[in-house]
């Protein structure tokens, strides 16, 4: 059993690293020439989130948030579907969850370990914890708002020593 002193995500991960990961994920999963552009646009009124948890010296989640229509368009791009083929809710949950999973897996790899990655979840994003334990990138894809948030778990202790689960 390893003991480690956890630090907030702002001390562990900079925005450039998250952007670099997104720069690799988008062309590979969303399609050739596709990109997460780090220029914020107006946030949508209604949002959908997909996330994976990271449990280890740092505890929290990697959350991808966008409008439901953007999630549908992302899914169509990931699956390379063309009209009249339509994607259903299960496809959207799967595709958005897998984008969060790949982002989360790569972010986990640059955080202190050992740590474990949870399975993708979709719905309303979990609440954020301390303000200094949130690394948030507001950006866009094809002009639509998209946010990648790396956020500490609510109530996650940062100053106490934590037990670190085995990977």
């Amino acid at each position: 059993m390893t003991l480690s002193r956890a630090q907030p995500i702002t001390q562990l991960l900079d925005a450039e690293t998250v952007q670099n990961i997104a720069d690799e994920v988008w062309p590979s999963l969303v399609g050739d020439g596709e990109a997460f552009v780090p220029v914020p646009v107006a946030p949508p009124a209604e949002v959908l989130s997909a996330w994976v948890t990271i449990s280890g010296p740092w505890n929290g989640a990697v959350v991808l948030t966008c409008a439901p229509a953007t999630a549908e368009a992302l899914t169509e791009s990931v699956l390379m579907t063309r009209p009249p083929t339509v994607v259903d809710d299960e496809d959207v949950a799967d595709a958005l969850g897998e984008l969060a999973n790949v982002l989360g897996g790569n972010i986990k790899s640059v955080l202190p370990g050992p740590s474990a990655l949870g399975l993708p979840q979709i719905g309303t994003a979990p609440a954020t914890g301390r303000l200094d334990d949130v690394r948030r990138l507001d950006g866009q894809w094809r002009g639509q708002s998209l946010t990648i948030t790396v956020q500490g778990a609510t109530g996650a202790p940062h100053t106490d020593r934590n037990e670190v689960p085995q990977p």
Partner: protein, 120 residues
Amino acid sequence: MKILVTDDSRVMRQIVIRTLRQAGYDDHDIIQAADGREAFDLVAAEAPDLVLSDWNMPEMSGIECLEALRASGSQVPFGFVTSEGSPEMREKAANAGALFLIAKPFTEDTFRDALDGVLS
């Protein structure tokens, strides 16, 4: 040649299969499993020439599947395609008998580099 693609995400299975085709492996039979348990059963039933598997899955993870296969005496070539590629995981995969670990995101070149020696 027959390739078993294992991932709990149908979307990711589709992406893996698409990348296999883009990498030039379009003349192989592809079969699919949604978790490690199903993959374990399909190895016995279908005798694939290669298993490509995600790591993190419900029911039975990829590493548990590989360990169960080796414990049962199966020596089917096995490689991981997973969102995590830390040195610890690569070591654990190699120790369990995996031939390679492809980290997501990947390209068709990544697939060619890993699979050419196995499928040639």
